[in-house]
Symmetry: C2
C-alpha cells in the first residue's frame, strides 16, 4: 500500500474571539443563573429554551440586495449549494427568538406571556479585549401586557434579583425613564424633520459619556472629541437645545420633584404628558410594594436604549466603586437594562403586541461579585486527593475516596503514574486539594493513614516561624477508621463544608 | 415620500429539525444536569465549557477534496468571501472539543485531567420523529490516565449518577466489555486482512439487533433482512465464526465464569489476555468499593462502540419495562455509553494520550423518569394568580403577589385586559394556577379576599356529587391579613410546597 501523504496537524486553538471556561468559571455562572431563575419563577415567569439556530429570515438580519447576509451574525445557507434552501444563523440575542416563538405558538401560550431565557448568543464582530463572539444573556420579558404594571413588575424583579445574587441594598439602583417623555420634548421643540429627530436621539445616547456641556455642543455646532476628531453638530440654536437639556437634567430630590420638572419640560404635548403619567404610575406601584428610591428611582438621565424602546426604559447600576485598569476609582456601572418595545411580533403577524423586558449582563455581574469577594471562595476548593503508594492496592485507595464521597466530601484517587511521589503532590497542588491522604506499606501494617493539610502547609511555608511550624503540624496520623471524620474536621477548620 | 415596497412577512417557524422547549421541559432538564454535575464534582471532575463554535480543522471533519465540508456538521467560511479564512462549525459532540482543549491547555491543566461538560451539540442530519438537529450531551472524561482504575471509576460514577437522578438500584445495570478481548478473538481466528476485520467489527455491532443467529448468517453467507434486502456476508466458514459467537455469548452466572469463558475464547493471544486481565481488574476494583453485579456486570454482549473504542467499553441500561408505541412491553434500554479511546489528542500533538469517558443521553433519561412518573409533578405547578377586579387598585394586587412571593410562593398579577373576568379565569387555568385570589370592591370594603382552589375546583367539576360539592367548597373567604397563611395551607393540602 502506498504511504498516505501526511496531512498537517490541525492547530489546537479556539476560533478567534471564542474562549474556554474552566471549573469555577462555569459553576459560579451556573449557580448565579439558577438563583436568577428562582426569582424569575417566583414572579410567575416560565422558562423558554429556543434553539441556537434560527432562520435568518426570522432573525430579521437578511438584506435582500446582497448574496451573503451582512456582518454581525454567523450565517450559512442550509443546502450544500448556496442559494438553495433557507439561510440559517446563530441567534445574536434572545429577543428576536422570543418574537418568533411568540408568533409561532401564540395560540397555545397564555397572554400575557411571561418568559425567561438564559443562554449563549453569538455575534460575528471583531473581538477585542474582554469582548467575545459568544457570551451569555439572561432575559425576562412580558409579552402581551400593555399596562405599565408590567414594567413596574420587571423593575421590582430586577431589584430582587440583584439582592438574591449577593448585591446588598444600597450597592445598586434601578433607574427608570420613559421614551414618551422624550417624544413629548421633541414635539414641543417643533422638530418635525425625521432626520433631525434621529440626530437628536443619537446625541442623547451620548449624554452618559459627554455630559451636559458635551450634549449642548453636539446639539449645536459640533464638538472636538477626545481623539481630536471633529463631530458635526445637529445645528440647533442654544434655545432650541434647552428643552432637551432640561429633560436630561430634570431629576429632583424626590420622585414628585422629578415628575414636576418633566411635566414642565413636555409642556402641552399629549404624548409627553402620557409618558410623565406612566412614570408617575410606575413610581406609585413600586412605592406601594415597598420599593422606595433607595432601590428604584425615576431618573431622566438614563438614556441607554432610548432610541430603541417605545415606552418606559430601565437600567440597573452598581453604585459601589472599583479600581479601573489604571488604579483609578470609578463606579462599577450598568449590569442590566431593558424597556418597552411594542412592535416585537408585528413583523410576523402584522398585529402590534406590547412587550417589555430586561436583559442582565451575567458576566459583568459575575465580575462585580468576584471584585467584591462575594464569590470565588469555597466553590474553587479542589477535591481531597488520595495518593497511590502501592499500585497493587488501588482498590483500597478507591474505597477511601468512595467513603469520603459518601460523606459528601469531594475526593479522588491520583490516577497518573504513581512512581514519583513528588509528582503526586504537585498534582494535588495544581488541583487545589485541601488535604492529601497517604497510606504506604508501613501505615497499612499499623492500620493508620497520614493526612496532609495542604492549605495549612501552604500558609506555614509562606509565613510561619519554626515554633509555629512545630505547634501546628500540617500532617497528622489517624487510625484508618477515623479517615472520614478527621478529613471533615480538617476541612471545616478551613471553612470548607461538604460538597454541595 | 414614496411608499416603500412591502417586504413579505417572515415565517414564524423554527428551522427544520429544531424545536423550542417550554417551562418544565427546561427546568426539569436543568435540575437533572445540576444533580449529575453534583455527582461528577464529588468524584473530582471539573466543569469545562468550550464554545459552540470550533474551527472545522479542529473538529476533524474537513475533507480536503471538496469545497464545502461534507454533511453532518453545520459549517461556514469565516470570511464573507468564501475560501478566505478558516471554516468554522458547530460542535457535533463534546469529545472533539475536549481533544482540542486538552491539546491547547495541557501545560496548565492537571494530568490526569478529569472534566465534565454539558450542553447542546448540533448535527446537520435529516431530522426524524423525536430526532432533532440540536440536542443535549452530558459527558465525563478522564484524560491522561492509562490505568483501568479510571474506567472502573467512571462505571461507579455512572451507577451513582443514575441513582442520584432517581433510578433505583435494580432498575438499571452498567455493563462492561473490552475491545482488546475482541482483538484477541480476531487474532486467534487468524484474520489478518484489514478489510475482513473491519467487516467482522461492523457485523458485531449488529448483534444487539439481529441476535446470535443473525450474526452467524452475517459472518457467513449473508442475510435477508426484515425489509427484504439481502445483506452480503463476511464469508467466513461456520467454524471460523465460532470464536466471535463464543465471545459475544460468553457471559456466565458470575464474573469469574464470564472471565473464564473469555480467557478460553482468546486462547494464546497476548492482547486478548491483556483485555481479559483488564476486565478482571475492573471487576475487582468495583467489587472492593461495593459495586456488585446488581449494579455493574462484565458482559461481552455489549457491542455498541466496540469498533470505535480501544479498550474497556461500558453502557448503562434501564432494565424496567415500558410500553412502546404499539402498546408492547419492552425494556427501556440504553441511556449512557462510553469507553477508552487512546488516540484522542494525537491528531494535534503527535503524542498518544490515554483517555476514557462516558456520555449520558440526558433527554432519554428524562423520558424514562417521566415515564415512571418520577418527575413532572410539582415542578409543573403554575403560580398563584391574583386577579384584577378594579384596574385602579393595581398597587394593592401587586402587593398581594409581592407578599406571597416573600413567603416563597410563586405568584403573579393578571396583567392582561381585566375587563372580562372569565378571561382571567381562563388565563389562570392555562397557567396551571393552583389558586386564584379575588378582591373586588365589596371584599375590600369588608377587609377580606376570596381564594379559589382551582385544583379542587377541577376535581369537583370532574367527579363530585352535589353533596360533596357543598361539603368541600372550592372557594373560601378569609381576612386580607390571612391571605398568605391560607394560600400556603391550600397549597400544602395539594402537596405543593413553597417555590424552590
Amino acid at each position: 500500500m502506498a504511504k498516505p501523504r501526511k496531512t498537517p496537524r490541525p492547530k489546537a486553538e479556539t476560533p478567534k474571539g471564542f474562549r474556554d471556561y474552566f471549573g469555577a468559571e462555569v459553576t459560579e455562572r451556573a449557580e448565579m443563573l439558577e438563583t436568577i431563575a428562582g426569582v424569575y419563577r417566583r414572579y410567575g415567569f416560565e422558562a423558554l429554551e429556543s434553539p441556537a439556530v434560527e432562520t435568518l429570515e426570522a432573525l430579521g438580519k437578511y438584506l435582500p440586495d446582497v448574496d451573503r447576509p451582512h456582518a454581525g451574525v454567523f450565517a450559512w445557507a442550509e443546502d450544500e449549494e448556496e442559494g438553495k434552501g433557507d439561510w440559517l444563523a446563530l441567534r445574536y440575542d434572545l429577543t428576536a427568538p422570543l418574537a418568533r416563538v411568540y408568533a409561532q405558538h401564540r395560540q397555545e401560550l397564555p397572554t400575557p406571556y411571561r418568559r425567561y431565557a438564559m443562554g449563549p448568543v453569538w455575534r460575528n464582530e471583531k473581538p477585542g479585549p474582554g469582548r467575545y463572539r459568544q457570551f451569555y444573556q439572561c432575559d425576562a420579558d412580558t409579552v402581551g401586557a400593555g399596562s405599565v404594571a408590567a414594567d413596574a413588575e420587571i423593575c421590582a424583579m430586577l431589584a430582587d434579583t440583584l439582592e438574591a445574587v449577593g448585591i446588598p441594598r444600597g450597592d445598586y439602583v434601578v433607574r427608570v425613564n420613559n421614551r414618551k417623555v422624550l417624544n413629548g420634548v421633541l414635539e414641543v421643540m417643533g422638530l418635525a424633520d425625521e432626520e433631525q429627530r434621529a440626530a437628536v436621539l443619537r446625541t442623547i445616547d451620548k449624554f452618559d459619556k459627554v455630559g451636559e456641556a458635551g450634549v449642548r455642543e453636539l446639539l449645536g455646532k459640533g464638538r472636538l472629541d477626545a481623539s481630536g476628531a471633529y463631530i458635526d453638530g445637529v445645528g440647533l440654536s442654544p434655545e432650541q437645545a434647552d428643552p432637551v437639556v432640561a429633560f436630561l437634567t430634570s431629576r429632583g430630590e424626590t420622585a414628585e420633584a422629578t415628575l414636576a420638572n418633566l411635566a414642565a419640560a413636555v409642556g402641552e404635548s399629549a404624548v409627553g404628558a402620557e409618558g410623565v403619567d406612566e412614570l408617575h404610575q410606575i413610581a406609585e406601584l413600586l412605592e406601594a410594594q415597598g420599593y422606595g428610591p433607595d432601590r428604584i428611582v425615576i431618573d431622566p438621565s438614563v438614556v441607554r436604549g432610548l432610541g430603541y424602546y417605545t415606552g418606559p426604559v430601565y437600567e440597573a447600576e452598581l453604585t459601589f466603586e472599583i479600581l479601573d485598569d489604571k488604579g483609578r476609582k470609578r463606579q462599577f456601572g450598568s449590569v442590566a437594562g431593558g424597556g418597552r418595545y411594542d412592535d416585537l411580533v408585528k413583523r410576523f403577524t402584522g398585529q402590534a403586541v406590547p412587550a417589555t423586558g430586561v436583559s442582565i449582563g451575567v458576566d459583568r455581574l459575575l465580575a462585580a461579585l468576584r471584585d467584591k469577594g462575594r464569590i470565588g471562595q469555597g466553590a474553587a476548593a479542589g477535591p481531597v486527593v488520595v495518593t497511590v503508594m502501592d499500585r497493587d492496592r488501588m482498590a483500597d485507595y478507591l474505597s477511601m475516596a468512595s467513603e469520603l464521597r459518601a460523606a459528601g466530601v469531594r475526593a479522588e484517587v491520583y490516577l497518573g503514574n504513581p512512581k514519583n511521589f513528588g509528582n503526586q503532590m504537585k498534582y494535588a497542588d495544581r488541583r487545589g486539594a485541601p488535604v492529601a491522604v497517604i497510606e504506604g506499606e508501613d501505615e497499612r501494617a499499623r492500620g493508620v493513614v497520614q493526612l496532609k493539610d495542604l492549605i495549612l502547609g501552604a500558609q506555614i511555608a509562606e509565613s510561619a516561624t519554626l515554633e509555629e511550624w512545630k505547634e501546628r503540624p500540617s500532617q497528622v496520623e489517624v487510625p484508618r477508621g477515623d479517615l472520614v471524620a478527621k478529613v471533615r474536621e480538617m476541612l471545616s477548620a478551613h471553612g470548607l463544608g461538604p460538597a454541595e
